[in-house]
C-alpha cells in the first residue's frame, strides 16, 4: 500500500518535471504547444544514444539531455514558434501537431520503432525496505532530483529578477517592453528552459515510462491533464496536480486494472466542467 503510494509520488514527480515546461508555455505564454512531448522524447533518445552507443555514464546523460533539448527548444523558438505567439489557437494546434508527426517519423527512421532500453547504474537498481515499505532506489533518486528542481523553480519564479521579469512580460507584454524588459529574449529563454526540463524528464523517465516513437502522443494527455487541472498561474498548482495524477494512475492501475486509464480521463473532464480554469487557477481566464 505504502509502496504504491511511494511509486505514485515518484511517477507524479516525474510528470511534474515533464509538464512544468508546458505549464509555462501554455499557461503563462498562452501558446498551445502540443509538441511538448517531442522534447521529452528527444531527451530520452539523447540518453539512449549516449549510453548505449558511446557508453557514457548515466549521470552525464542527464545534464546533456537537458542542454541539448534546451538548445533545440531555443532554436525552434527563434525560428518558428515566435511567429505564432499572436496566431489563433487553431494555428498553434496545427503547427505543433505537425511537429509531433515529424518528430515521431524522424525518430522512427533513425532509431527504429522498438522500445528502447537503458541500463541504469548498479547503485540505482533494486530496492530496499524501510519499515516494511519497499523503496526503489531509482524512484528515490527521481523524487530527490525532482523535489530539488521544483524548489529551485519556485524560487526562481518568485524571488529572482528573471522570474519577476517573466511574470511582468506575461501579464502585459507591451507595458513590460516599455519598461525596458526584453520580452522576446525572456520568452525565448523560458521556452528553452521548459524544453530542457522536458528533455531532462524524458531522460529520467526513459526507464520508468518506456521510450518508443509514439511517446509524444502517448503522454500528451498526461501533460495536458497536469497543466489544465493544476491551473496555470503558478508552479504549485501543476505540482500538486502531477502528484495527484501520479498516485491516482499508479494506484488505479494496481487496484482496478480493468478500468485502465478510464478514471483519470473522467476525473479530468469532471474537473474541467466544474472549474474551467483548473483546481488552483485564478478565475480571470487569460
Amino acid at each position: 500500500m505504502l509502496t504504491i503510494l511511494f511509486d505514485g509520488i515518484a511517477y507524479g514527480m516525474l510528470l511534474f518535471i515533464l509538464a512544468c515546461g508546458l505549464s509555462i508555455t501554455l499557461g503563462l505564454m498562452n501558446f498551445v504547444n502540443l509538441a511538448h512531448g517531442a522534447f521529452a522524447m528527444a531527451g530520452g533518445y539523447v540518453t539512449v544514444i549516449m549510453m548505449n552507443r558511446y557508453g557514457l555514464s548515466f549521470y552525464w546523460c542527464l545534464p546533456a539531455s537537458f542542454f541539448i533539448c534546451a538548445l533545440i527548444g531555443g532554436v525552434l523558438e527563434r525560428t518558428l514558434y515566435r511567429r505564432l505567439y499572436g496566431a489563433s489557437h487553431l494555428d498553434q494546434v496545427l503547427f505543433s501537431i505537425g511537429l509531433v508527426f515529424m518528430s515521431i517519423a524522424a525518430v522512427d527512421y533513425f532509431m527504429g520503432g522498438q522500445q528502447q532500453l537503458i541500463n541504469l547504474p548498479a547503485e540505482l537498481k533494486g530496492r530496499f525496505d524501510v519499515l516494511g515499505v519497499g523503496i526503489g532506489r531509482y524512484r528515490l533518486f527521481i523524487i530527490a532530483i525532482c523535489a530539488v528542481l521544483a524548489i529551485i523553480l519556485q524560487l526562481a519564479l518568485t524571488k529572482t529578477r528573471f522570474g519577476s521579469q517573466l511574470r511582468a512580460a506575461v501579464d502585459d507584454g507591451r507595458v513590460a517592453r516599455g519598461l525596458g524588459v526584453k520580452v522576446s529574449a525572456i520568452f525565448a529563454l523560458t521556452f528553452a528552459l521548459g524544453s530542457g526540463l522536458a528533455g531532462l524528464g524524458g531522460a529520467l523517465g526513459a526507464d520508468m515510462l518506456g521510450l518508443d516513437p509514439s511517446f509524444p502522443l502517448k503522454f500528451l494527455i498526461y501533460f495536458m491533464i497536469v497543466v489544465t487541472v493544476g491551473g496555470t498561474s503558478s508552479i504549485t498548482g501543476p505540482f500538486i496536480a502531477a502528484l495527484l495524477l501520479g498516485i491516482a494512475d499508479v494506484g488505479g492501475k494496481y487496484y482496478v486494472p480493468q478500468l485502465g486509464a478510464f478514471i483519470i480521463y473522467a476525473v479530468m473532464i469532471a474537473v474541467l466542467i466544474l472549474k474551467p480554469h483548473g483546481l488552483f487557477g485564478r478565475e480571470s481566464g487569460r
Binding site: L94, I97, F101, A105, F262, R286
Partner: protein, 342 residues
C-alpha cells in the same frame, strides 16, 4: 424610416438568396463525382475513402468553420458511429440504411450531451474536453472487449443489400454510389442549414460572440444544435466506413484521425462546406502517393505540410477558391455580404 427598414430587410433576403444560389463549379463537382462511377471503375475503393473523409471533414467544418469551436477529438463521433453501425450489423440487422440512421441518431444524442462541455471555458478547455472525450471513448472501446472486440477490432460484420435491393459488390461500386448519395444528401442539408438565417447567426457568434449576444443572438442554444448536428454527421461518416469495409478497428478512435481531419479542412479551407470535399480529395491522393514512396514515414511529410501551411498562412493556402468561377463575381456584386474570412 420604415422604408429604409423594408429596404434593409429586402437586401438581407437578397443576400441570403444569392448565397444559396448554385454555382457552376458546385454542379460540375457533383457531375464529376458521379461520372467517376463510369470513368474510373478500378478506383472505387479510394473514391469511397475520399467520400467518407469528405463527409467527416464537412461535419468538422460545421463546428469549426461556422461556430469556431476548435476540436481535437472530433473522431470520438466518427468512431462511435462506426462502432454503433458495426454492432448493429453484427447482432441485429445488416441493412445499411437502418444502420446509418441509427448511428446518426446515437452520435447526435451523444453530441448533444457532450456539447455542454464545449460551452464552458476558453479554447484551451475546449481542446482538452474534446480530446478527453475522444480518449475516454477509445479507452472504453479498448476495455469493453465483449462488446467491441477490444484491440482486435470488431469482426463478423455482415452487410445485407441496401434496402434489400442493391448488393455490395466485390469492386466497391455499389459502396461508392451509396456513400456518394449519402454525402450528397447530407451536403445539401448542410448547405440549407448554413445558408439559412440560423447559419448566418452562427457566423456572427463565431466572429464576436459578445456582440452577437447583444444583438439578441443567444450563443448557447445555437452551439448546442450545430454541435449535435455535426456529431450526427461524423457518426454517419463512421457508419459508412464500417459498412463499406465490414470491419471496425480501434483505430477509428485514434488521435491521428482527429488531426487528419483538421488537416483536410485546413487544406480545403474552412467555412464554405466544400472545403472538406476538396481537402479530402487532395489529402487522400497525397497520402496515397506518399505512402507509396515512403511506406513507413509518410507521417513526416504530413507534419511538414501542416507546418508549412501554418507558416504560409491558412487564408493564403485556401485562397485558391476565389479562382472558382462565380465566386469572385458574387462577392463583388454584394458589398453587403458577410465576408467569409475567419
Amino acid at each position: 424610416m420604415s422604408e429604409t427598414l423594408a429596404h434593409t430587410a429586402q437586401s438581407a433576403s437578397e443576400i441570403l438568396r444569392r448565397r444559396e444560389r448554385w454555382q457552376i463549379w458546385e454542379v460540375a463537382l457533383w457531375i464529376i463525382a458521379f461520372a467517376a462511377i463510369f470513368v474510373l471503375p478500378s478506383h472505387m475503393l479510394i473514391l469511397t475513402e475520399i467520400a467518407i473523409l469528405a463527409l467527416f471533414a464537412l461535419s468538422l467544418d460545421l463546428i469549426l468553420g461556422y461556430a469556431g469551436i476548435v476540436s481535437l477529438g472530433h473522431t470520438a463521433f466518427f468512431g462511435l458511429g462506426a462502432y454503433v453501425a458495426g454492432i448493429l450489423a453484427r447482432d441485429y440487422t445488416g441493412e445499411p440504411v437502418t444502420g446509418l440512421l441509427v448511428a446518426g441518431l446515437v452520435t447526435g444524442a451523444f453530441g448533444f450531451l457532450s456539447s455542454f462541455l464545449v460551452l464552458r471555458g476558453s479554447d484551451l478547455t475546449r481542446l482538452m474536453t474534446t480530446f478527453g472525450v475522444a480518449m475516454l471513448l477509445a479507452e472504453v472501446a479498448n476495455q469493453a472487449a465483449w462488446l467491441t472486440g477490444g484491440a482486435d477490432g470488431l469482426s463478423g460484420v455482415m452487410m445485407t443489400p441496401i434496402l434489400g435491393l442493391f448488393e455490395f459488390d466485390l469492386w466497391g461500386r455499389t459502396g461508392y454510389i451509396y456513400v456518394l448519395l449519402v454525402l450528397m444528401i447530407l451536403a445539401f442539408i448542410a448547405r440549407r442549414i448554413v445558408n439559412s438565417p440560423y447559419g448566418l447567426s452562427l457566423k456572427a457568434i463565431k466572429r464576436n460572440s459578445r456582440r452577437a449576444s447583444m444583438l439578441g443572438i443567444s450563443p448557447t442554444r445555437r452551439i448546442v444544435v450545430i454541435y449535435s448536428i455535426a456529431a450526427a454527421y461524423a457518426g454517419m461518416a463512421g457508419a459508412l466506413l464500417t459498412q463499406t469495409t465490414s470491419f471496425v478497428s480501434p483505430d477509428v478512435l485514434a488521435f491521428h484521425r482527429s488531426a487528419d481531419v483538421l488537416l483536410v479542412l485546413v487544406i480545403g479551407g474552412t467555412g464554405y462546406l466544400y472545403g472538406g470535399i476538396f481537402g479530402a480529395i487532395v489529402f487522400t491522393l497525397l497520402r496515397d502517393w506518399l505512402s507509396v514512396i515512403t511506406p513507413q514515414y509518410w507521417m513526416f511529410w504530413i507534419g511538414l505540410i501542416l507546418i508549412a501551411i501554418v507558416m504560409i498562412g491558412r487564408e493564403r493556402v485556401a485562397g485558391w477558391r476565389n479562382l472558382l468561377p462565380g465566386q469572385r463575381k458574387s462577392r463583388k456584386a454584394a458589398p453587403l455580404a458577410v465576408e467569409d474570412a475567419p
